[in-house]
Each structure stands twice: as structure tokens, then as C-alpha cells.
Symmetry: C2
Subunit: 85 residues, 2 copies
């Protein structure tokens, strides 16, 4: 299989798996089971993967981790909006 096709399929699958978490939080407006530290560690990690992808010039890595950054930043924003309730 072509490397880029493989990377894009892998990226779509791992990215898609995070969407239910975001939908659940948005619906339930409940973040008590989210760990702030872990969210910050994860955002740092996926941001570094984007940087790695840029250095290696690998589009599948940049796209899938870029998407992860967006999803996890959304979770972080939800965390601060909903933590009081």
C-alpha cells in the first residue's frame, strides 16, 4: 500500500476515535471525569507530533495530529466553561 494512503487511513481512524469524547462532553456539559493535567500533556504531545511531521515533511502526521490539537483544545475550552457546574 502507498505510504501516504496508509498514513491518511491511519490518521482518519485515530482522529475519528476522539470525536465521541468531545460530543459526550458537549452533550452532558460535565467534565468531572476529565483530567486537566492529562489534557495539557496530550495537547503538548500532539503539538510536538505536528512539529515532527513538519520537520519530516510528512503530511499524514501533520494532518492527523493537527486535528488532535483542535479536538483537545476544544476539550480544554469545555473544561474551563463547564468545570463550575
Amino acid at each position: 500500500m502507498n505510504e501516504n494512503v496508509l498514513g491518511i487511513v491511519a490518521g482518519v481512524l485515530t482522529s475519528a476515535s476522539m470525536i465521541p469524547q468531545l460530543i459526550k462532553i458537549l452533550k452532558e456539559k460535565n467534565v468531572k471525569d476529565l483530567s486537566l493535567v492529562m489534557l495539557l500533556v496530550l495537547i503538548t504531545g500532539v503539538s510536538l507530533w505536528v512539529w515532527y511531521g513538519v520537520m519530516k515533511d510528512e503530511l499524514p502526521i501533520i494532518l492527523s495530529n493537527g486535528f488532535s490539537v483542535l479536538v483537545n483544545l476544544s476539550l480544554l475550552i469545555c473544561y474551563f466553561i463547564y468545570r463550575k457546574s
Copy 2:
């Protein structure tokens, strides 16, 4: 920064972020909030990332996604052990 060091740091951070989920499930023996479909999608996705890493000969990708495969297979096993309770 050296690309491999960057990839390894990124991999350690994203891998570490999954451990609390596994510990939580092992402690609480409760999998009702785990989605089987999403677990299967995620395991397929990270397995394809390992394959991508092997094709590109990139150790950080192989190691961090290989670790993800192990953690998520453990979650899958927990799912089948604890789903009845």
C-alpha cells in the same frame, strides 16, 4: 531539535496520557462508558500507524503507536472481562 528526540518526547507524552484511562478502568472495574466500536477503530488506527512507521523506518512512530496498541488491547480485554458486571 533532533527529529528523533522530538519524536520520542512527543511519543512519551501522547502515550503517557492514555495510562490514567487504563488505571481508572482497572480500579473501578466499570466499562459502561467505554465504546466497543471506538476501541476497535482506535486499535485498527494505531496498528496502521505502526505499519506506517515500519514502512517509513521511523522508530518514534513505531514505539509510541506500538505502546498504544498494547494499552488499547488491554482496554479491550477489560471490556470483555468487566462488561457483565
